[in-house]
Subunit: 110 residues, 2 copies
């Protein structure tokens, strides 16, 4: 199970990725991330919500009220253009990061 600093800097990207496909809300985003990673990574609630707040503050996602069948109404989020742009940046940055860190790995020529 991965956690913390290892993933640091990519929590936001995971959320953006999830919203790339369809609008969603907190709990569902978290579930989607868990599923995407096949259970290898599970984002903590606080991490998720603070990342969402940050993304909204930065204008990368926008909120709107949704319905629910039970319990408190959900807040849905949708990607903005700048959110989409940020995703692309992060994706490109990742390609570089991955290769650079890979230079320090031996016996790992996958």
């Amino acid at each position: 199970m991965l956690s913390g600093d290892i993933i640091r800097g990519y929590c936001d990207t995971m959320i953006l990725f999830t919203l790339l496909h369809e609008d969603s809300y907190g709990y569902a985003i978290s579930k989607s991330i868990r599923e995407t990673t096949g259970g290898q990574y599970s984002m903590k609630e606080t991490t998720l919500y603070s990342a969402i707040a940050r993304l909204e503050r930065n204008g990368c996602i926008a909120a709107y009220d949704g319905k629910t069948s039970f319990g408190r109404p959900r807040t849905y989020y949708t990607l903005t253009d700048s959110g989409r742009a940020l995703y692309r940046e992060k994706r490109d940055e990742w390609a570089v990061t991955r290769d650079v860190i890979g230079l320090f790995m031996e016996g790992d020529e996958t």
Copy 2:
């Protein structure tokens, strides 16, 4: 130029990797890292030295005095067995991390 949080968690590994090949000291380790990445990443001095201190505290590297031709004498570092073990752990962890984060990247099928 990569920096900070992107690389976070792998500074230690870069240092361990460098020492895998031969004993070295602060400035030279930093230089070696810059060269390994082809100038794509340059570790800040403070980052380097605090990582070195951490690794030594944890028994992953051991220090000994070295000579110098000019200026203050260097402190050389050598990998310990547990440092070598930590490197292997980090290397394996990286393989997983890389694949998991990769799941969130589109149009990036390199």
